[in-house]
């Protein structure tokens, strides 16, 4: 049962900061001289097993976003290795990747293809997505006519219905009115119950406590604590003082 699904092995990430656009152009052809390095993650190692739900806490700039980007396969480590097994659904930027001229339904397929899904599978989840998003007849209208709330709901519905192995959630996420928020929370809870792996990034202690028994506390790109949530939160609030 103890099967690691996400492994970070001595991962470091260094961002190169260029002084100006001119330096950036030069960097295409020569080794940059004046550029500064910013170390976002430093020698981070941990592993997450299948079915675990893990909270990630830390102040702004602690490296949470960088870590999530590596899990979703958008960003790559400067040194060390990241291994992620399975389909990742990220509730980070829900409306990213929509094509405004195409209808909601066409966008479901488009997003599915981007995620590497097959036609049959998308067809089988299409109804669930439409029902969950509650956008009714608008599903056959171009996405550019949607309100921002509708776009968000559709994005959320697609991501939670593609049957992910790993679900990455950012707390800062807002998905419309209180009623729909509750629906989302319930859906996430049911995904956790199904034994999926969930990563939850948050500033709010209550929601972390509620959802994750384990917590990773990041500070300035390093893992300060990895273990029981109660203890992690205690250290977090102590260090803050």
């Amino acid at each position: 049962m103890e099967e690691p699904i996400i492994i970070f092995d001595k991962v470091s990430k260094v961002y190169t900061l260029y002084k100006s656009d001119g330096d950036r152009l030069k960097a295409l052809f020569f080794r940059p001289k004046s550029a500064k390095d910013h170390r976002a993650l430093n020698n981070v190692s941990f592993s997450i097993n299948k079915g675990e739900s893990v909270g990630i806490i830390g102040d702004n700039g602690a490296g949470k976003s960088t870590l999530l980007k590596m899990i979703t396969g958008v960003s790559f480590p400067t040194s060390g290795t990241v291994s992620v097994k399975g389909k990742v659904a990220a509730l980070l930027e829900l409306t990213a990747g929509f094509s405004p001229e195409m209808t909601g339904r066409e966008n479901i397929y488009l997003k599915g293809y981007i995620l590497g899904l097959k036609d049959d599978f998308i067809k089988s989840i299409e109804k669930d997505i439409v029902d969950f998003a509650q956008i009714g007849d608008y599903i056959d209208q171009p996405v550019r006519t949607y309100s921002s709330g509708m776009k968000m709901r559709l994005g959320f519905a697609i991501n939670v219905n593609i049957d992910p192995d790993i679900l990455v959630i950012d707390e800062a996420l807002s998905v419309g009115d209180a009623k729909f928020k509750k629906k989302c929370k319930d859906k996430i809870a049911s995904i956790i119950k199904q034994g999926k792996t969930v990563l939850f990034v948050s500033h709010s202690k209550e929601s972390v406590k509620e959802m994750c028994p384990r917590c990773i506390y990041l500070k300035k790109g390093e893992v300060v604590f990895d273990g029981d949530t109660e203890e992690a939160l205690k250290i977090y609030s102590e260090k803050k003082k």
């Binding site: 979703t72 958008v74 980070l92 990747g97 981007i114």
Partner: protein, 277 residues
């Protein structure tokens, strides 16, 4: 080294769908839709014809040496037309290819996506437009110049080669433009001049000096504009052209260099792009 090929594996269907999506994005919401793809180049073509044939009152006939060394004249309109149709594709694929990663940045910074396929589908969508233009051009050629002839099938050699050549070019230009917007601006500036240095409104096969003719071989755009004229206008095989060996060697040498340069540039920049876009 070969991650571009790995990224394309099993993604063929998506590339076609995304190319279609590009077309829909470009032309949906306008009354005549895809007709714009034909109207715009047609108008430009009219402007060139007007400037050279009416305005400058120059030759209305372009003189071209045939394989027997004799001079044959072609009406300037059909001459420009057959060179202009591949030029439209080339110009579009260089410009849109170079900025493709930048315009599709959500595929780089938001989701895990085989980034090199962005260039493939962007340029493929331009190829669809090119097919439409070729059909229009071919109908005109059939009416005015007669045919069809066996030489027309050379289209099936030049067209895929043209797609591949400018795709391979974009393996370098797209990641570099994504990394630095100044680099894209350089390409953009070069493109506006490149038209006059390519054999679109004149024939680079018939330059006054021999050495100039050979220099023109180094511009790969000429390989295709002259190629299309071989296929549709001159009605001869590309190997009938006396300088054919030199022309071919130069072209394919450039192709191979660009191919490896593209693989190298893509590999070194792929993992950095998401951080800078």
């Amino acid at each position: 080294m070969f991650e571009i090929f790995r990224e394309h594996k099993g993604f063929t269907r998506q590339i076609f769908l995304l190319a279609k999506n590009e077309l829909i994005k470009t032309y949906k919401g306008s009354a005549v839709g895809p007709l714009w793809a034909v109207v715009k180049p047609l108008f430009t073509l009219f402007v060139y014809w007007f400037a050279f044939s009416v305005g400058l009152r120059g030759n209305r006939v372009v003189e071209v040496a045939n394989i027997h060394g004799q001079t044959v004249g072609f009406p300037i309109f059909i001459f420009i037309l057959v060179g202009f149709v591949p030029w439209c594709f080339i110009s579009d694929s260089i410009l849109f290819g170079a900025r493709s990663i930048r315009t599709n940045r959500h595929f780089v910074t938001k989701v895990s996506f085989p980034v090199s396929t962005i260039m493939s589908y962007t340029i493929l969508s331009k190829l669809f437009v090119h097919f439409l233009l070729v059909i229009c051009m071919y109908i005109y050629v059939l009416i005015v110049n007669g045919g069809p002839t066996i030489y027309n099938i050379q289209f099936f050699y030049y067209c895929p080669l043209m797609y591949l050549f400018f795709l391979v070019l974009s393996w370098s230009t797209a990641p570099m433009s994504a990394f630095s917007f100044d680099f894209y601006n350089i390409i953009n500036s070069v493109m506006s001049g490149l038209f006059w240095l390519s054999s679109v409104i004149y024939s680079s096969y018939d330059m006054e000096y021999g050495w100039l003719k050979i220099i023109m071989f180094f511009n790969p755009i000429n390989y295709f504009t002259n190629g299309y004229r071989n296929a549709f206008l001159y009605n001869r095989w590309f190997w009938d052209y006396p300088e054919f060996p030199l022309e071919t060697i130069i072209f394919f040498a450039e192709f191979v260099v660009l191919f490896f340069l593209g693989l190298w540039n893509y590999k070194r920049l792929r993992k950095k792009i998401a951080d800078v876009l």
